[in-house]
């Protein structure tokens, strides 16, 4: 036998091979320690990322109800069409047939598909009608290149009713304007997420509940609005638009004792269910976002404040100078020449000269204090976006002119809501209450806005102004057209000349006619303010002629309806003008 067989078994070359193999395994073991020990978190994260997908569970926006639980806004489901551009083999054919089915422009769709060839997702049209969705299904396109996804669709079952108050939800479900925006946080809720386990081909294998964020659906909210009163208000505004062809009209119905807004409307308007239509003019809620000088509707506020501060007596005589009164370098006129008028008659006749004399007695500082006390120059705090504060110039800018202008409602401007809120102070016995839309007490959550109540004037002065001069305005003054058989109405007209920026003077032809009224006088339950901006036909254009009849009609229907629903409903039918 060879000598080799007796040598120690593993010789140099064998040892080398064995050492080599063991070395290789050692290196691999070290590599495994690196991957599975040191870098394991990084890879685990990578795996989690590719194995799970997060899917949003959209929150359903809450419903909006009126004060009696009538549905004003709700949410249904609709299907939205998307395509996977990377998988469309025939973009032109697909664009053509899809655009026909959902009524969109085929060239535009073709361009959009072409522009996102590398992406996996493209909305074609969202929230299809049922017919459109069926039409898309009937096309029978290749299944992998398109899909329908269910989305929430905001709907306003009352049509355009209270559109300015409600606002709308945009295509992504975000509240735009009105209550939809103001209470967006409450209404929208919070989207949940679901984590799904998927495989490499994108098939969903499992749902991981333990890590999902639960969806919080939006809360329902109840408004102080009354849909029936609102309907009536809107009919009246439509009639005013037809009769006087004004630029715009608005109306507010307010419960003076609680500050609840029962109705609020503005013309021109828009359709929440079809927000694309219209010229954009209709988007402004003129009740809170159109300012004008309040004019004579401001007068009772000053009188009430002066009476309360005992700067004025109820039966005090004012010489109204037969309609012409020189105040410094300024000549004031009354509409009719009057001799001596009592404090009450200054309001009943709406004498500018009488008011100017009251202004002279108070002085600028007190006038400013009074205007501020009634909420002029600052927002009312209603829960609506876009509210304007009007203008109340700072006292140092006031001049001798102001002594005559301010008491008759010039040199300051306000929104209709500010005016009606100020009048609510008179109607409720002297308290300023934040006007609001959110019906507190109906929600489990506390009211999101604080309703502030503060005393402005004493009850005595407020009640007297309402029950004596303002009642007489309707009985024998400028507001006779607002008289009602069933109720004792109090009110005040306002006719403001619009300031003409071109000439730098007050216009003699362009007016803002307003009328604020309430009833019953001994216990006012509702206040109505109707503002007609620039009536263009008919005449004469006074608050008492243009706005008063509509305001009184609104007041009557609303009060009747509140007293007895059934009687109102019958009455309501024949009261609705044919449109």
């Amino acid at each position: 036998m060879s000598d080799d067989s007796h040598k120690p078994v593993l010789l140099r070359r064998e040892r080398l091979v064995a050492a080599g193999v063991v070395l290789i395994w050692t290196i691999l073991a070290a590599r495994l320690v690196q991957i599975q020990g040191l870098q394991r978190k990084e890879f685990a994260h990578r795996a989690r990322r590719q194995q799970t997908i997060e899917q949003t569970i959209p929150a359903r926006p809450g419903d909006i109800f009126d004060r009696s639980g009538r549905l004003l806004a709700t949410t249904t489901r609709a299907e939205s069409l998307f395509v996977d551009p990377s998988r469309i083999d025939d973009p032109w054919g697909v664009s053509l047939s899809l655009s026909e089915a959902v009524h969109i422009d085929s060239d535009r769709l073709y361009e959009r598909i072409g522009a996102s060839r590398n992406s996996r997702f493209l909305w074609v049209k969202r929230r299809l009608s049922r017919d459109e969705a069926d039409a898309v299904r009937r096309l029978d396109l290749p299944r992998h290149c398109w899909g329908l996804r269910r989305e929430y669709l905001r709907q306003y079952p009352q049509g355009t009713l209270a559109s300015h108050v409600l606002g709308l939800r945009d295509i992504d479900g975000i509240g735009r304007g009105g209550v939809e925006q103001a209470f967006d946080a409450l209404l929208r809720g919070r989207d949940g997420t679901r984590r799904l386990v998927r495989d490499a081909r994108g098939f969903v294998l499992d749902e991981l509940d333990q890590v999902a964020q639960p969806v919080e659906h939006g809360q329902d909210i109840h408004l102080t609005l009354d849909a029936v009163v609102q309907t009536h208000v809107e009919h009246q505004l439509d009639r005013l638009m037809e009769e006087w062809k004004p630029v715009a009209v608005s109306a507010v119905v307010l419960d003076p004792n609680s500050g609840e807004i029962v109705a609020m409307a503005s013309r021109p308007t828009f359709d929440q269910n079809d927000p694309g239509a219209g010229d954009g003019e209709g988007w402004v809620n003129r009740a809170i976002a159109a300012v004008s000088e309040p004019g004579s509707t401001f007068k009772p506020l000053i009188v009430a404040w002066a009476l309360d501060r005992e700067l004025l007596l109820r039966d005090e005589p004012f010489d109204c100078e037969q309609g012409e009164y020189r105040m410094g370098g300024r000549l004031l006129h009354d509409h009719h020449p009057y001799g001596v008028l009592s404090t009450a008659d200054v309001l009943v006749k709406s004498s500018n000269i009488g008011m100017a004399k009251i202004g002279e007695r108070l002085g600028n500082e007190r006038l400013h204090t009074a205007a501020t006390a009634f909420g002029f120059g600052r927002k009312t705090g209603v829960e609506l976006p876009g509210e304007l504060s009007g203008t109340l110039r700072p006292l140092p800018l006031w001049t001798d002119y102001s002594l005559g202008s301010i008491p008759m409602g010039q040199e300051l401007s306000a929104t209709p809501l500010q005016v009606v809120t100020a009048h609510a102070v008179l109607a409720n016995g002297g308290r300023m209450i934040t006007p609001h839309l959110f019906a507190s007490g109906r929600h489990p959550a506390p009211s999101p806005r604080n309703v502030v109540t503060s005393r402005v004037i004493g009850e005595e002065a407020a009640n007297w102004v309402v029950r004596v001069p303002l009642v007489q305005v309707v009985e024998r003054g400028t507001g006779r057209k607002a008289a009602l058989e069933d109720f004792q109405v109090f009110g005040k007209s306002g006719t403001a000349q619009k300031f003409d920026a071109a000439t730098g003077q007050y216009s003699h032809t362009r007016h803002v006619c307003s009328f604020v009224c309430g009833a019953p006088a001994d216990d006012p339950r509702l206040l109505v303010l109707v503002t007609v901006d620039e009536p263009t036909v008919g005449g004469p254009h006074f608050g008492g002629t243009v706005a008063a009849p509509a305001a009184a009609q609104i007041l009557r229907r609303a009060l009747l309806y509140r007293e007895n629903r059934t009687r109102f409903a019958e009455d309501f039918d024949d009261a609705v003008p044919a449109r």
Binding site: S5, V21, L32, A44, A200
Partner: protein
């Protein structure tokens, strides 16, 4: 006594590896949606396993002198199969490479068989026959004869390169090199052949730019894993998910769809995810133990004998193939489709591996016939 204990341990290790393979093939074949794939794969794997065990046992019971006698014939047969696979219409083409022969439902790669027959041939060529007269022994020592062994090696590798299957050719080249090395091939011959092959390999890289791209891609993957080929990314991720303890047998997610070839070439990654670092290092320990025990087992043979060199080469071949698979899965070498011996699902690979290990056992047996000099087996 000592020897039979060694052999029993060696066989037990093979059994443990086969058991692990069985588990992993079953687990890695589970699909995302409920199907019967895992049962189908398991039963097929069991079929191959029983076939492989029969082949392996037969190989182990055959005396080593049979293998010595059969080495050239088996090699010749392999060459014929390697040639046949290239004939259009007979060889089966998968992904542009003609590597497969199909017999009914069974398919096999002739290059797999070459992993056994080429080392046998090299050792047969270079080791002196026992009991041979001195002049014959000296003939075997003549330089030219010894150098001529590169002709059959070159022929085999050439046929495999043409398929093309560069990875397997390179692996076989390495195994042949180990066989040459253990057969005391002179170092200067290695130097000469390396010098001869180097320009060839360079030309191949230039002529087949896609190979070069693969290597470049591999190098970029080291810098940024996001640039790595999909399967490398997935196999590393799969291993990493397992961490130290693993997610539990059968509970792996990656195999469900993200990891390609989960039950064949990347079964090691599945094992890594489900059994963790403990499982992967355990498997490495098993292979190392198998390797060292096998060498001890073969140590009863004279170091320069056919039995020792052939047995050691085949053993190294199997263990290195496992190491190469792990290296691919851990992105230590460029991606190459290679099964993990005994662990991967795979018909012909499993049978060939068991045959190779069977031959190792056969080689480790003291050939009583030879020792008592009853005579050479027929044909030798």
């Amino acid at each position: 006594m000592q020897h039979s204990l060694l052999r029993n341990s060696f066989l037990s290790l093979i059994g443990v590896l086969l058991g692990m393979g069985l588990l992993m093939v079953y687990s890695a074949s589970i699909t995302a949606r409920p199907t019967e794939f895992e049962q189908v794969y398991l039963s097929r794997h069991l079929t191959f396993l029983s076939g492989g065990v029969c082949v392996g046992l037969t190989a182990a019971f055959l005396p080593s002198r049979f293998w010595r006698w059969a080495a050239p014939w088996l090699f010749g047969l392999t060459l014929i199969l390697l040639a046949i696979v290239l004939v259009p219409g007979i060889g089966h083409r998968v992904n542009g490479a003609q590597r497969w022969l199909r017999f009914g439902s069974i398919s096999m790669q002739p290059s797999e068989i070459a992993k056994v027959t080429l080392p046998l041939l090299v050792c047969w060529w270079l080791t002196p026959r026992r009991n041979a007269p001195d002049e014959i022994r000296s003939r075997f020592r003549s330089w030219l004869t010894r150098f001529a062994v590169i002709v059959p090696i070159g022929l085999t590798l050439g046929l495999i390169v043409v398929e093309p299957d560069l990875g397997t050719a390179a692996f076989l080249g390495g195994i042949a090199g180990i066989a040459l090395f253990l057969s005391r091939w002179p170092i200067r011959n290695f130097v000469i052949s390396t010098l001869a092959v180097a320009p060839l390999a360079t030309t191949a890289l230039v002529l087949r730019p896609y190979q070069w791209q693969r290597i470049q891609g591999f190098l970029t993957a080291w810098r940024d894993i996001d640039l790595a080929p999909y399967q490398v990314r997935q196999s590393l991720t799969t291993l990493g998910v397992g961490g130290i303890h693993g997610v539990g047998l059968g509970s792996g997610w990656q195999k469900l769809s993200f990891l390609p070839e989960a039950n064949t070439d990347f079964v090691f990654a599945v094992l890594g995810e489900e059994l963790g670092l403990i499982g992967t290092l355990g498997l490495i320990a098993l292979w190392t133990a198998l390797f060292l025990l096998g060498l001890r087992l073969l140590a009863v043979q004279p170091v320069r004998s056919f039995e020792f060199t052939a047995g050691a080469t085949l053993l190294t071949q199997v263990v290195l193939q496992a190491a190469l698979n792990v290296a691919v899965v851990t992105a230590m070498v460029p991606p190459k489709g290679i099964a993990h011996p005994l662990i991967s699902y795979g018909g012909s690979s499993l049978v060939v591996t068991l045959a190779a290990l069977g031959i190792v056992v056969s080689m480790s047996r003291r050939d009583t016939a030879a020792l008592t000099e009853i005579g050479p087996p027929a044909g030798d």
